[in-house]
C-alpha cells in the first residue's frame, strides 16, 4: 500500500478537538505538516492554537493513537512547532459549520486587526441575529468569548478570532 500525505490527512479528519468534538484537527487548521519517510514512517507537525492550550499534548497523543491503529505504517512521530502561526483563518468552511453545530459562534474571518467593536458584532449561533452583546472576551476555554443574544435571549459562546 502506498501511503501518501493525503491519505494521512484524510485519516486525521477522524481525530477531533477534545474540547469541541464536532471539529477535526484538520478542519481546525492545526495540522501544518505531514511527511512520509522510508518504510512508511509518518511525521506529523501540529501548531498550537493558543500557547497555553492544555489540549495540545492530548491532541499529539490522539494523533499517535489513531495512526497507530493503521496497518503498514512505520514509526509515527508528532511534533509541535510555531513555524506556522495558527490563526482562526486556518479553520476550513467545514470547520466553521462544525463549530456552529457545537453551539458556538464561528470566528469572523480576516481579523488581523481585532477590536472590541468587531467582537461586539458576533452573530448568534442559534438564531443568526446580529443584535448581540459581548459579555467578556474570555470564556470557559482560552479560545472562547462570552456573548448574549438580545433577539432570542440566549447566552452563547463564540470562538475567538485570533
Amino acid at each position: 500500500m502506498n501511503i501518501t500525505p493525503a491519505f494521512i490527512r484524510n485519516e486525521l479528519k477522524q481525530v477531533k478537538d477534545p474540547e469541541i468534538p464536532t471539529i477535526s484537527i484538520v478542519d481546525l487548521g492545526i495540522v501544518t505538516g505531514i511527511e512520509i519517510g522510508e518504510h512508511n514512517t509518518v511525521h506529523v507537525t501540529l501548531t498550537p492554537t493558543f500557547a497555553g492550550c492544555p489540549a495540545l499534548r492530548m491532541m499529539e497523543d490522539m494523533v499517535k493513537e489513531h495512526l497507530g491503529k493503521i496497518e503498514n505504517l512505520g514509526e509515527i512521530t508528532v511534533k509541535t512547532s510555531f513555524e506556522t502561526t495558527w490563526t482562526t483563518d486556518l479553520i476550513s468552511d467545514e470547520g466553521h459549520a462544525a463549530i456552529k453545530q457545537h453551539g458556538l459562534a464561528p470566528p469572523m474571518r480576516n481579523c488581523a486587526h481585532i477590536s472590541m467593536e468587531i467582537l461586539e458584532a458576533t452573530s448568534c449561533p442559534y438564531c443568526d441575529s446580529n443584535d448581540t452583546k459581548m459579555k467578556s472576551p474570555f470564556g470557559p476555554t482560552l479560545c472562547r468569548s462570552l456573548h448574549y443574544c438580545n433577539n432570542c435571549k440566549q447566552a452563547f459562546e463564540g470562538f475567538k478570532p485570533v
Binding site: A51, S136, F138, L142
Partner: protein, 252 residues
C-alpha cells in the same frame, strides 16, 4: 557577554515576568468581583503560564535546564522578573492597573519581537501577540469604565496608578547587553520599548480620566532583572512550588 548570553538574559526576564504575573492572575481564581472577571483573570493566567513554558523551552534549546526544573527549582535571587509582577494582587483596582500597564508593555514587546532576527523567538512572538491583544482589550475596557465610573472608582484607580507607576517604569530596566541585542536585530532594546509604551498608555489613561504622575517625580524601581527582589517574591515561589517540592514527579 556573548550574544547567546544576551539572548538568554532577554528570554529569562520575559519568561519569568510571564510566570510570576500568571501566578498572581491565578490568585483571582474564585475571588473575582463578578464571574466573568474571575474567568478572565484565570484565562489570562493560563495564557501567561503557557507562554512562559514556551519561552523556557527556547532557553532549554540554548542549553538551560528543562522548563519545569527552571520554573520550580530556582530561588528568588535567581529570578529575573520585574518588581511590578511580584507585588501582591491587592484590591481589584490595583490588579487592573497592573494588568493594564504590564500587558500593553508585553503587547508592544511581542510586536517588536515578531521581526526578531532570532527566528524561534520571532515565531512565538507572533503567536503571543495575537493572544495578548485580548489582554490589552480587557484591561483597557475596565480601566476606562472605572476611570469614568464615579468619584470612588476613579479615586481608587488613580491611587493605584500613582502607586504602580514607578514599578511599571521598572519593567524597562536596561539589560547588560542592550546594544548587542539592538545591533544584531534581536530586540529593539528597553529604552525604545519604554518610549513606545509611553506613547500608547498615556493617551489611553488620560482618556480614562486618570492623571499621569508628574514626569519630574518619575523614579523607576529597578533591581528585579538582576535578582534583587521585593520580599513578596519568595513566599509566592514557595506557594507555587509546594506540590513540586513534595513530589517532583507528580503529574496530572
Amino acid at each position: 557577554m556573548n550574544n547567546i548570553d544576551a539572548l538568554k538574559e532577554l528570554l529569562y526576564k520575559m519568561a519569568d515576568d510571564q510566570l510570576i504575573i500568571g501566578h498572581r492572575n491565578s490568585e483571582w481564581n474564585g475571588l473575582g468581583p463578578i464571574l466573568e472577571e474571575d474567568i478572565a483573570f484565570s484565562s489570562m493566567a493560563q495564557d501567561k503560564m503557557g507562554q512562559s513554558e514556551h519561552l523556557y523551552n527556547l532557553l532549554n534549546q540554548l542549553g538551560e535546564a528543562d522548563a519545569d526544573t527552571v520554573a520550580f527549582t530556582r530561588n528568588a535571587p535567581q529570578f529575573h522578573c520585574s518588581h511590578l509582577v511580584e507585588l501582591p494582587i491587592g484590591g481589584y483596582d490595583f490588579s487592573l492597573i497592573r494588568h493594564f500597564l504590564f500587558d500593553f508593555a508585553e503587547y508592544l514587546r511581542f510586536e517588536a519581537l515578531k521581526t526578531s532576527a532570532y527566528q524561534p523567538l520571532a515565531q512565538v512572538a507572533k503567536k503571543f501577540f495575537g493572544e495578548v491583544k485580548y489582554h490589552t482589550m480587557h484591561a483597557n475596557t475596565w480601566v476606562y469604565q472605572l476611570g469614568h465610573g464615579n468619584e470612588e472608582s476613579n479615586g481608587k484607580m488613580q491611587e493605584s496608578l500613582n502607586f504602580a507607576w514607578d514599578y511599571a517604569l521598572g519593567m524597562f530596566e536596561p539589560g547588560p547587553a542592550e546594544e548587542m541585542l539592538i545591533n544584531e536585530n534581536i530586540f529593539i532594546g528597553e529604552e525604545a520599548l519604554q518610549a513606545k509604551w509611553l506613547e500608547v498608555v498615556i493617551p489611553l489613561l488620560e482618556k480614562s480620566n486618570l492623571v499621569i504622575p508628574e514626569k519630574s517625580s518619575w523614579a523607576p524601581i529597578y533591581g528585579g532583572r538582576t535578582g534583587n527582589h521585593t520580599a513578596h517574591l519568595q513566599p509566592l515561589l514557595s506557594e507555587m512550588t509546594e506540590v513540586y517540592s513534595i513530589d517532583p514527579s507528580a503529574d496530572w
